[in-house]
Symmetry: C2
């Protein structure tokens, strides 16, 4: 199979989504996968343009991810942070020495007038990644959260406050005027598109920012290919991160069905964990049960195969 | 002795100058030394504001200098450079992981509107340096060199081309409109100033940019304290760097006397190496011969004591 025989579009946030994206990249032909990354987490820190989800995907797909930390680079060193601390610099957001190269070089190229998408495409090629990797937009969209402490920038909430504040609302600042990446919109209407896979990422902070870009939600609804989402909830809990905590705070039932409801206007198929069979029993959308916990590389490939096989059976 | 009993002003470039500055800092009372650094070497690289001479002084005076390299930080790591290279970034100017913190934090603070002098003062305090450390100016002065290949930026010449091109002229772009740091000018007229020490730095690229700032040369001429220069030439050769090579290319005799001539309009005393006794025999300015090669820490302190004792004997 080559791109002429169809291709898959995956929407992904960071860690959990990147695991499935890696699985898809290993079971699909080299040119048959396009990954769209959330950039709602992006921010400027120490004068550097940081794109956490794009970077997690870059590092994961090139085998340079740090499995111990769950973020950043394998074999990372921390001399920059130690020296920065000695100079009185801000250290709440930890940047490894190797990771810093990504931010410094991206910032330099953005200032020189290149687009985030062009830079990301060059980076993934240089790191030997065959799959295409696109930001959802070249325009800035910034996730903010209204909490009991007031509105917070995403990284303030996520890293500095470790998701402790109770949230009541999310906003994606800039989304009203952001233009979806042309290749993203084109892919969604491409007759060669065989499936859209919504990776098991946090729906509120990883996928909703993508859906908030004008035209994307409608393009998903109108998409000729099946749209398949993989549940980030296993056994009623989030594998990692604040997905379950957020559901509760936002007044939603904390279970796998909630995620399917969240995508109800465009979802064609839902992949839920076997442990959540009861929770998803009454959903309107077709459900396939699978083992969705991705611990090993084989798990990632197996889930990717399951998702693709299930998508291939969908009749729209 | 405290500052009330007099203080010393040292003008310095990088490595050679920093060695004597360290010696001075160890034999003078904590508040009795002010060092003015050349900023003609400063440049923007990868979007970062880099001040090589200020940094060499910061690292040397705080005991964090790298004696093997002669620049950068002790115990440095290079993961940033390796990762940058993998992303196709510019690697001709090597930035260590710890060193990078200085550039990132300085750049951030400059962009936030702080002055280079305020940032440098904060950095030296945080690194436990008692001596004051000032840039010659908060305004940009950039050394350029006319060579057989045309005009070159300083770091292009110095680092990328390793001083290989033959030079015929130097220019200090921005010097015409640069304002000397007010504390620098004030120190030169301070009745408590007991000596000005021109460190054994390259006269053309480390001291001349300082002298090119309007008002400095006149203030040195009018200075009530003796102005003492230490020869960067030992036995007719430069200890390190292109000083001797430049002298030859600029049509000057390659010897210790040339440096004294270069400072003739304001120099009160010249410290030359014992090896260069013959070369400096016919100078108009008083000369003290000394062992000027600074290999050990004791050498640095010994030369500092010699310079200060000789300066104390000058009657202006």
């Amino acid at each position: 199979m080559s791109r002429q025989d169809g291709f898959v579009l995956a929407l992904s946030g960071g860690v959990g989504g990147a695991k499935l994206a890696l699985g898809l990249s290993r079971v699909l032909p080299a040119d048959a996968l396009t990954i769209v990354a959330n950039t709602g987490d992006d921010f400027e820190h120490l004068g550097l343009a940081i794109s956490p989800d794009l970077d997690t995907l870059l590092y994961t797909l090139s085998g340079q991810d740090n499995p111990e930390l769950g973020w950043g680079r394998r074999g990372e060193t921390w001399n920059f942070m130690a020296a920065l601390e000695a100079l009185g610099g801000d250290t709440w957001f930890r940047l490894g020495d190797g990771d810093l190269a990504t931010h410094v070089e991206r910032t330099r190229r953005l200032r020189a007038g290149e687009s985030l998408s062009a830079i990301s495409d060059d980076f993934r090629r240089r790191l030997g990644i065959a799959a295409r990797l696109l930001p959802m937009s070249d325009d800035k969209v910034r996730t903010r959260l209204r909490t009991e402490e007031g509105w917070l920038d995403f990284q303030d909430y996520f890293v500095r406050l470790r998701c402790a504040p109770v949230i009541c609302e999310l906003a994606f600042v800039g989304s009203e005027t952001a233009r979806p990446l042309p290749d993203f919109i084109a892919a969604l209407a491409d007759p060669l598109l065989s499936a859209v896979v919504i990776c098991p990422s946090n729906p509120f902070i990883s996928i909703d920012p993508i859906l908030a870009v004008p035209g994307i939600r409608a393009a998903l609804r109108d998409c000729p290919a099946p749209v398949v989402a993989v549940s980030p909830i296993i056994g009623g809990k989030a594998v990692k991160g604040p997905t379950a905590k957020m559901m509760g705070e936002l007044g939603m039932p904390v279970d796998a069905a909630t995620v399917a409801h969240h995508y109800c206007d465009f979802l064609d198929l839902y992949i839920a964990d076997e442990e959540d069979a009861a929770a998803v029993e009454c959903l309107d959308v077709p459900v396939v049960l699978a083992r969705t916990l991705m611990q090993s590389l084989a798990d990632r490939e197996e889930l990717a195969r399951t998702v693709l096989a299930a998508a291939a059976r969908v009749r729209k």
